[in-house]
Symmetry: D2
Subunit: 349 residues, 4 copies
């Protein structure tokens, strides 16, 4: 058993981490922090976690004091806003500690990119060390890392859809269209008008139509996959559901590729992956099939008529798009089977 | 007062037509047909329409016998499946009759296109006469028509978004991406597993990822707008809401165009249109703002970074995407103000 | 045309009032106030109301200065929180002014009851003058009133269901059970965690299980209807929808009453009412049938086996439960047909 | 490892059983039947269950031939409609077999009651042997049973709420009010208009307001708990969510009981129960807290003012209300810890 702490445990990402870790056979949660909820019982704030089965009734939200925390755990999940993460992670990373950071702070290869889209980086040396935590692309690096930058929800769905196209040289475009639709939990548990039920229910909107901060993360990884600069024309949409992202990726396809062959290429690309499921031709990915899981289901749809390929990708934004992937990264970093604690199937309906 | 009949009145399109016509000051509904519900009171099937205020309690679903119907009304809405429409419309179109057909049967300029995507056309001479019922593009033709092919819901949302780009020569691409998200009422009132609540609620899927039959309708109109052949890479998605379509249209933008100027160009293009509302820069179209109305709200988002333009379009698929547009077309065909009976504002929340 | 002002126009009740008044043929809106949004265009805050059709684009939220307002209108809707209403209404009520107050401040006959459930009343003399604005029970009094206390949403649904039972002496119980389920718009447009989408979506909860402030309003009216003290064991529930209340009222039924006769008695009781629809035996009220309307649909279900009667009542909490009823009251107070501006049918689906 | 079969595996109850059994450490699923889907892969019909992690990819729906099945498994879940269950269960129950039946066929003590609400019983001798599968009330009997009648979803929620009141003699009424609100999955996966998304979304209705077939089940168990005949005035409602039942139980409370004491009495009554969580005073049960789990959360609300007690009960109708409880019963029948395979926490949001 390893002692783990969740820094910033009062949001939806924290809640999902606690749910997953409560069922993880190798982990004991020894601390959960929240500035807003210091002193409150975790299971009073989140009654879903309560009861003897969960084993979390003893946990109390505490102040995120890094010195104190460093003694209480050897593995840390930082589920705090960006900037806060790069302030706190250096203080946690002592000799034995390992960290998965769920903010944006350790996802970028180049501090200039972070600065352009966010602000000046406070820990560029750690940024250089951090590994981008997408197991399908960086499994071996993650195993050796002590700091992993856990990917964003949208980037996870888009990169897993588009990376095979670029790695395998199936498309030559410099701009990829990524039209993504997300459930509302991606906006977090903080109060804002846009997330109020009556502003969402039975409705549909696009938001941050240009300039969403997940864009440079996709562009970094897809450019690396392509071996050239690739831009992403990314549009996020808010749909009336709690969990789930569906991303539809469009690009002009190279000539002469057969539909069936393309699906096969995706199968090959992800052949040994436990958490990727490629749909057979004609089958449609559905976010409900991945709800509460670490799966990414992919549908590959070449369209001869227009010369385009479309790849449809579905994930649960809280699990695969955040906390489930974080647990998977922890499993790799600690030498456990990567599916440990992540074997539940999708809750459908 | 004109006497109007609704042929095929037991689906959601029929229900919406009846709702709108009940509030129309110039129309008396004299017949409503439904093969499945012959003899049932309309307001028993649709209690929302009941009561003395609606004035529909006397209506009974009857058999769609064209000869009999031709005597009962002079204006006809055919809200029946494709093929059935082209069988029945020729029988209705006597000397005085006018028809708005809500099926796909009279939307195409060339019978070959209809044949390619549907089946051989049974009334090609009427097809040649029919006018495509998008008032913003064909107002004068509609005024003179006796047969209007009412546009599909997806095409309405996509064409209104993309036509200005092509008419004004702002884009040069031969393929336009149209990523559309629709509420479930677009699938109709018939029973099918995909429309069951538990298959939709809190989930998200793409469907008919290639080859949706609304594609040729968009391509016909956008090619006409462009003066060259334009293809549409169209992907429909099903989202958990009842009414509403949001379409996000992507295309590479010609160089040198300013963001603000683009929004202005859209304003100019639709300057006199009552049912088009262009969003100011930064504002976001929301399907709830158009719910139950004939509005199409458009947001124009040029993206210098990627060289793309995105246009976001929202409509109510049952109103602007079907029955509201049909009533608007009737108003034009009968010489009334086009907003007659369509002045209600969006039901929000 | 009469000049009307909406005091407190930035919540959902205000939005619904503006939607209805925009379509009212006899009303011109001359002022809309909101402390939080002074200087903002009404149609920027509520784009659903925008465009030339609505005619509201010129309106700007202004400060609720009563002196100034008294000059700008002769009819006032106060859609402000309780306490604020009893502060402002006395300042508005000059010689010619009439007011419908949508808060709780003018609903009670006795200031002691208000004090017990809220706080000491600041305008007891106006309270004595005010009429409880439920047209089915107090139509003639409303016509003569200059101040109407518009009923609460839950009380409207429960009183309309239970009043016939008590007035007609069909039940003798001293306690009536009222189990009510409401959409989230009843909680208003203010930010709170309980109204965030992810706390509501796909879930269900009871709240304020004892002591909800709408209880004394029901008890006042049902005791008056019964001619004796009647208590209501009231439980509100929050359900994942935006608009709609369904209340299920339970009471032991007097012996010897026939099911069919009971439905008939309800029909008779509400015989001339335009906005009440009694379901035939076997038919089920559905909130979607009344969405956006001033209807209350009632189902009457005697149960011989248990000796109980159940009455199921559905309304739209924003329309019949607030703004629609307010407009209806205005119509009565100004001598117009009570359905003026309220003839739209339910938006279904 | 025990070999288990799911008879009737293509509905939502079957799907939930398969999800739970896939994660059960002691069970191997050796057969799944469905008359409609013979020959189809289980994971093609239910892609949520697919992939190597689930281990179900080899399963194919087969014909429910009892003789053949009796050889393939020693434990059976029958998730078929009533009547079918009592036809098939006698054929399965050989020497070694044990059965949990999820239909209504083995829930009643007296065949006359079954006959009155359903039809004549075909296996009255098995009915006499069967144990009502509510572990909190019949744990020891279940452990010894070879046939368990798994309780209905509504009865589970209502009985767990009301049994303490009656067993402890806290109420003396002969009629209890049970107002229940259910998600749509309770209606099953079969096609019907009432379950179509657009008939449910954003709406609310009561149904089977008198005479729902779950009534006699509640009355049987609550009469046993009380030691006298108790009737239940039961009203089910359909709410727009997939999973979850909230039942609000009302009864007049005996005089002189303190609120805090009542909550304590519930705590004591369910002291050793893993799957019951009693809310502290002021806390509110929420269906999202139990989603996907076997928990029943209870809130106890005495109301001095009206002399009534209200108990609010929430369960997941597919898990605690069907398949989770069935697995729990299997665990007891086979001598395993009753929480085996049921330790997942609620998926929230």
């Amino acid at each position: 058993m390893i002692e783990a702490a969740v820094i910033g445990g009062s949001g939806y990402t924290g809640l999902e981490l606690l749910r997953l870790l409560a069922g993880h056979p190798e982990v004991e949660i020894t601390a959960v922090t929240s500035r807003q909820m210091i002193g409150q019982k975790v299971t009073d704030v989140f009654p879903a976690l309560g009861g003897r089965l969960g084993g979390l009734d003893r946990l109390v939200f505490e102040d995120p004091d890094p010195v104190h925390l460093a003694e209480k755990a050897e593995f840390f999940f930082t589920a705090v806003p960006h900037r806060t993460a790069m302030e706190i992670v250096p203080l946690l990373l002592n000799d034995r500690a390992k960290v998965v950071d769920l903010s944006a702070d350790f996802r970028f290869r180049r501090p200039e990119v972070y600065q352009e889209w966010y602000e000046p980086h406070l820990a560029p040396e750690l940024l250089a060390e951090a590994v981008y935590g997408l197991p399908e692309l960086y499994r071996e690096e993650i195993k050796k890392a002590r700091l992993v930058g856990n990917p964003g929800c949208y980037p996870t769905s888009v990169i897993l859809a588009a990376a095979p196209l670029l790695r395998l040289g199936l498309i030559e475009a410099d701009v990829i269209i990524a039209d993504a639709k997300s459930g509302v939990s991606g906006a977090g548990r903080g109060l804002n008008l846009t997330s109020q039920f009556c502003e969402i229910d039975d409705g549909l909107m696009a938001y941050k139509v240009t300039g969403h901060r997940h864009t440079p993360e996709m562009e970094q990884e897809l450019s690396l996959a392509a071996g050239r600069t690739v831009k992403v024309s990314f549009t996020p949409h808010l749909v009336p559901l709690s969990r789930g992202i569906l991303s539809t990726v469009y690009a002009p396809l190279k000539d002469g590729l057969e539909a069936k062959a393309l699906v096969e290429l995706f199968h090959d690309f992800y052949r040994d992956e436990l958490f990727i499921r490629i749909k057979k031709p004609g089958e449609l990915p559905h976010t409900l099939d991945v709800r509460g899981t670490n799966f990414c289901d992919l549908g590959v749809f070449p369209d001869k008529r227009t010369g385009q390929i479309k790849v449809v990708s579905v994930i649960d934004n809280l699990t695969r798009g955040a906390s489930g992937q974080a647990v998977c990264n922890m499993n790799l970093m600690l030498g456990w089977a990567e599916e440990t604690g992540l074997t539940g199937l999708g809750l459908r309906p």
